[in-house]
Subunit: 542 residues, 2 copies
């Protein structure tokens, strides 16, 4: 068996947190600190943190992708958002940690009602952004306490078997995939990007502060430690958005062509998976983990899979309703032949990053399921077909994905789409389709289009394709340059879950046309049996 | 002839601005000021300013509803937005004032490139909000200049024939219209609202600052002078949104009932006007002013008209394309029998404020006109029919009004809707339907629904009804409380401008149902001839 990218261990160790928090408290006392903040973060503010930075999980047992703990001498709290409240209660020793809903009581607010005058709350300046640290400092100051840097990180001091930091080789992304030579990035950064040892970073930052009066820094994204080192060198931090983010978000012609190629390749792998699932699921023996492994194997068969984009979300029935579900050996469910199975996955190829969700009926779907799926599909199609003037933001489009759910008193509690990198992070700013998406959508941007519906404890539905912002075809009499989306993702959408009577002729035409494209693009890559399956799966709706 | 509310004088006096600016400069020199800022504002930051506060118009000749002038010793600039650029060039002596597009170069940016170190720029702290004054002060500081209060206002010192301030009697809005006793407002303000002489305001503010350590103030809405007086009294200004704005925006049951009554009454007056227009326009002798006067007279016939909500926008052909057009004796056009006439008007009744726009074909409309009108109507209907969960903001709905225009490469450069007061300002915050509308829509709020399309130099289209946010009827299986709009405005929408083939069955059903409601509600109030006209105007579309 191949070593796969995804593992399914449940790393939570509830019993360990008692002794661990005790040693941490002793360390804090030794340093004269009254408390310490433990965010889930590394020094690069990455979305996915390496094992060596999983301090929050080590200390609390909580393995979710977002959270913060504050440990004081006599009490401790774990702050998580709504999607993780249940998971936190299962994984964490609530005798040690109170679980706090972060949207109701964020850490800074908890600090204001909990810390006492004169107390010192430690933080690791590498693990908080400039703005994040400011918010905490302000909360401490409001009660006469103070936020003080604690370096080296006190958790590291007591974490005996801490894994080593990742040590991968630096690889140049070839120009045939990137579209530009690696030097061009160095040119932009004007000499700053000569590759140096990590240890030189701190002294370089001080030198930068000394050499330049003003150093621009993205206060919402850069570690507070960076600002402190620039200031220590005598520099003044000027705040401004990271200019590289927008450059990355707008893909060049090579990246766009690569994305199309990657999606044709990935679509064939996903289609082989969907055909396999249809064949195997009726026996009622497949599990969520089986599905993840099979899908990774189909992608590996392409011969060019570099990694998965993120841990596959593979949820049957009630597990499908957990938006950020990650299957473990403990939660693994059989994909029974009588429900809905949701699978959200992606691949990293050198020519592009993919991200696709399909929701599949494994038996006769109920009328309610078909109604919900059709509403989600109508929202998905509304985004796909949107035509909008230059300058339009994702916030202005987001509601098109929701209107048909709203009409039934339903909604989904996440954005409609996120930006996607090119052989980079599958979640990439600054553009997104969400009510918070204030960045104008520019041709070359790649975003996800993923409305959903989640019936807690019962089932989940999500239909996700990646779309590319393009110039819309010219319209006679148009007064403004128009933009539209080109759908990149190629894989059938389960017709068994659609209520055709609820679809408009335009929506049916979109679906049939999409399925015809899927069939035309993927068939040449498939074996006879899968090709025949795809022909059935992409037949006209009515 | 009755004295009407609206006048049509062109008050612009281009020749006067030379001598006036000269006397202002002499006054500034006498006070040691290098310049002075003249906004169009009164000390209450009202939208409509009384003649005694029309300093900008007096100084520059510009009579638009928004603008700012800065006068320096050797140059002067008038800042206006896109809708007023043309008008400003016509009204203002451009030898005295350069006309600056405010969205391209706002005053604070102009200051940064124009003022010199050590210069003193005067401002009247009563005419700028706290935030506005801060922005100007920051710009001055950036170039080593300073923003200094200039009281009394230097313009007033040289404005020889300045009209007296308005001196109307204080009238209590009766409880049968307001739904609450006047005392309840006083209770909210806890003793602050005892009616006092205007002259006592300044000393009261100082006393307030002295008596209370913290004084809450809406920095985006309150005059900078108020913050200065609180501070002079020793108080500390705490910034926060005005708590009364949201209370006013959510109408109580009496106000809602009053709004319905007012709209039935107003709809009958507007319908009499539309029937009259249809009868008279073919002769080709009516002018835009005739239409304004006739409409005001039909409203006056109700016997309870207290005022018009705002100067009626009455634009035929090219004038209809000017979004904030105000007809004067100089611009007045004949309503020819071969085009489109747009009329946007409103009435103030004690039980409610109305605001309605109708666009009428006075001849055989072109195919393009019908296409554009139909797209605007489809957007209007999309807002009218929207169903959305509790907590949804106007920003989330705005695009529904635009999607059909976007598809043709068209748009309109204003928000879809504004809040409306109850026998108060026709433009009322905080809720609005626009991409800037971040306030959740609550049952009881009244907003306008007014998408449009403007073909510069040719014609303008706008369809405006007022809508009331209501609880939507229960839907089986709904997981969230739903909101919807109830349309308050009652008057026919010109069927001659609609292309039925471009309408969906749902849209046609909405229109026919709306027209049936209009007919049922208004017919009993109309004479036979108008009733017959209304029956034709509200016949089913196809």
């Amino acid at each position: 068996m191949t070593a796969r990218f995804q593992s399914f261990d449940d790393t939570a160790d509830r019993a360990a947190s008692g002794p661990r928090i005790a040693t941490l408290r002793a360390e804090l006392a030794r340093r004269g600190l009254d408390g310490f903040i433990v965010p889930r973060a590394d020094r690069f503010q990455n979305e996915y943190v390496p094992p060596s930075d999983e301090r929050l999980s080590w200390l609390t047992g909580f393995s979710g992708s977002a959270g913060t703990a504050i440990v004081l001498a006599d009490r401790a709290a774990l702050f998580v958002d709504g999607r993780y409240t249940l998971q936190a209660r299962e994984q964490v020793d609530t005798g040690q940690f109170e679980i706090v809903q972060v949207t109701e009581t964020p850490p800074h607010q908890w600090i204001e009602t909990t810390l006492r005058e004169g107390q010192k709350l430690g933080y690791d300046p590498w693990l908080h952004t400039v703005e994040g640290a400011e918010r905490l400092a302000k909360a401490c100051a409001a009660v006469g306490a103070s936020l003080v840097p604690a370096e080296p990180n006190p958790v590291d001091a007591v974490w005996a078997d801490r894994p080593p930091a990742p040590l991968g080789a630096v690889v140049t992304h070839e120009q045939k995939f990137a579209g530009e030579p690696a030097d061009s990035v160095r040119d932009i950064l004007a000499g700053l990007a000569d590759i140096r040892e990590p240890g030189a970073f701190e002294s370089d930052l001080k030198a930068l502060g000394a050499a330049h009066r003003n150093v621009r820094l993205d206060a919402a994204g850069a570690a507070d430690a960076i600002a402190r080192l620039v200031a220590a060198g005598g520099g003044k931090v000027r705040r401004g958005p990271d200019p590289i983010a927008l450059m990355k978000a707008v893909k060049n012609a090579t990246e766009v062509a690569g994305a199309r190629t990657a999606h044709r390749r990935d679509g064939a792998a996903v289609t082989r998976f969907l055909a396999w699932l249809d064949r195997e699921a009726p026996a009622g023996r497949l599990t969520e983990i089986d599905a993840v492994e099979a899908l990774e194997d189909f992608r590996r068969d392409t011969g060019v899979l570099k990694d998965i984009s993120f841990p596959t979300i593979s949820g049957f029935g009630p597990n499908g309703a957990i938006v950020h579900y990650r299957v473990t050996t403990r939660t693994n469910r059989v994909i029974a032949p009588d429900g809905i199975f949701l699978i959200d996955s992606g691949a990293q190829y050198e020519d592009g990053t993919t991200d696709i969700t399909r929701t599949v009926a494994t038996g006769q779907p109920s009328e309610e399921m078909r109604d919900r799926f059709t509403r989600v599909l109508k929202g998905h199609i509304a985004i796909s077909r949107a035509i909008f003037p230059e300058g339009t933001t994702g916030a202005q489009l987001d509601s098109f994905a929701r209107a048909h759910l709203w009409a039934a008193g339903l909604d989904f509690d996440h954005g409609t789409g996120h930006g996607v990198g090119s052989y980079l992070s599958v979640h990439e700013g600054p553009a997104r389709i969400s009510k918070l998406g204030t960045t104008a959508l520019k041709p070359g941007m790649i975003l996800s289009n993923e409305p959903g519906y989640y019936k807690a404890g019962t089932y989940g539905i999500r239909i996700e394709n990646l779309v590319l912002v393009v110039e819309a075809p010219a319209v006679a009499g148009a007064e403004k340059p128009l933009r539209a989306f080109e759908t990149l993702t190629l894989a059938p959408i389960d017709r068994r879950l659609i209520a055709p009577a609820a679809m408009t002729p335009d929506e049916i035409a979109w679906l049939d046309r999409y399925h015809a494209d899927v069939r035309a693009e993927l068939s040449p890559q498939l074996d006879d049996a899968t090709r025949a399956w795809l022909a059935r799966a992409t037949a006209p709706l009515v």
